[in-house]
């Protein structure tokens, strides 16, 4: 590839939006419009002839490098099959506090954990593991959080009372259960 084609490739790759012909000109002010047009052609042909996973497309706004359509499905499928997400320690602890103390407000959880938990609450909520179950009494009537049926389902629990009591925890923790709950 010519240096100009390489420069255009780098710019098209790094830009968050399509690049117009004018912008391409500022990118290489010493080059003629014809040279730039030739480099664009060179880049497009290189992608097409050589066989690449991407292609150069001219859209309304200008030029853009896009993933070839035949690979988008595989990429989406891979994102779907991405290895199962694990909850962070912070999220787990927050979930544990909510499970055992519900209904509980954000401020109360933060007091127990000693750190702000805004993002964690949001992700647990998006996961469907917790929900707002009401408003507390008192100043500002804070939102109160509790666990959801999805939470019970996930751990194969029939109801919350099936969670071990705090004083049973030591024993529960010693049992090497690989996956969810025993009967």
């Amino acid at each position: 590839m010519t240096t100009l084609a390489k420069l255009l490739e780098a710019a098209l790759f790094a830009s968050a939006r399509p690049i117009t012909g004018e912008e391409l000109a500022t990118l290489a002010p010493d080059e003629s419009a014809a040279a730039i047009a030739a480099a664009i052609d060179e880049l497009r042909e290189h992608y097409d002839v050589d066989g690449h996973g991407v292609e150069l497309q001219e859209l309304a706004g200008g030029w853009q490098i896009l993933t070839r359509a035949e690979y988008t499905e595989a990429i989406e499928r891979a994102q779907l099959a991405a290895r199962p997400q694990r909850l962070s320690a912070a999220a787990l602890e927050t979930l544990a506090i909510i499970a055992y103390r519900q209904p509980i407000s954000r401020a109360e959880i933060e007091e127990i954990r000693g750190v702000a938990i805004g993002g964690v609450l949001k992700s647990l909520h998006e996961r469907g593991l917790i929900d707002v179950v009401g408003r507390g009494e008192g100043l500002g009537r804070p939102l109160m959080y509790g666990t959801t049926p999805v939470f019970l389902e996930h751990f194969a629990l029939r109801h919350l009372e099936e969670l071990p009591r705090a004083d049973e925890l030591a024993i529960a923790l010693r049992v090497p259960v690989p996956e969810a709950a025993p009967e």
Binding site: I65, T67, L139, L173
Partner: protein
């Protein structure tokens, strides 16, 4: 100087502003003196370095002076200790030892900073892909979470809160529900009342505040109206439509 690589533009971003014009702390200043004077870090001429240190913090406009002053005090103390006759005790410990340890540790860290700075610059000279086509909200990956993990988290929390100060439930400082009950009781007797009527003479600040919040809460849910004819005038409280009030009672 050691902190010149912090771009001046960083100051605008606030949190990443360089805290001092030339030095990132008293250890940095001390190291720079030792370098300028070309003295052996293991055998620092404390009297000379201490004097220069004090002179430098006088001329510098240091906005975190406390940390520099603390270091100055430490240097002067070491200087005094060195002036004491060593005597014949076999267990004499160089009063500079701890300072040398900290300086070496700091210097080592600066070396890592140089590595990071170099690598960071290297990475900054490449752009990542910026254009990412909008995707239909990617489906969430399945959640890997076992009951045992949850219980382990419970255990961690319990251990973390087993500090005595976490055991006590802090009583709520305000009693808004109690205030709401009082206001409702008063309004049940007469449909119109004054703020001064529901505040008793013996009420302490938290009780007055509870009343006020209760009042605002009831006004918010539409159980009553609050009016004040002019600034600082007494506040009139009127019960809202009867059905609301009776339901509340």
């Amino acid at each position: 100087m050691t902190s010149t690589f912090a771009a001046p533009t960083d100051a605008a971003s606030g949190s990443f502003a360089v805290d001092l014009p030339q030095f990132s702390g008293p250890l940095d200043l001390l190291l720079s003196l030792i370098r300028d004077e070309q003295v052996d870090i293991y055998d620092i001429p404390i009297a000379r370095i201490a004097q220069q240190f004090v002179e430098r913090i006088r001329t510098l406009e240091l906005n975190e002076a406390a940390e520099y002053l603390e270091m100055a005090a430490r240097l002067l103390r070491i200087k005094a200790q060195l002036l004491l006759p060593v005597g014949a005790q076999e267990s004499w410990e160089d009063p500079r030892a701890e300072l040398v340890r900290r300086l070496l540790e700091y210097q080592q860290m600066r070396e890592v900073v140089d590595v990071l700075e170099r690598r960071g610059e290297e990475r900054r000279s490449h752009f990542a892909r910026a254009f990412l086509p909008a995707q239909p909200a990617p489906p969430q990956a399945p959640l890997a979470l076992s009951l045992i993990e949850l219980l382990a988290a419970v255990d961690r929390v319990l251990r973390a809160v087993s500090r005595p100060d976490m055991h006590d439930v802090v009583p709520r400082a305000l009693d808004v529900p109690g205030a709401i009950d009082t206001i409702r009781a008063v309004l049940a007797l007469r449909a119109r009342t004054l703020f001064t009527d529901i505040i008793m003479t013996g009420h302490v600040p938290w009780q007055v505040l509870s009343m006020l919040l209760g009042l605002l809460e009831l006004a918010r849910v539409g159980e009553l109206h609050v009016t004040q004819l002019r600034p600082f005038a007494n506040v009139e409280i009127t019960a809202a439509a009867r059905d609301n009030a009776s339901e509340a009672a």
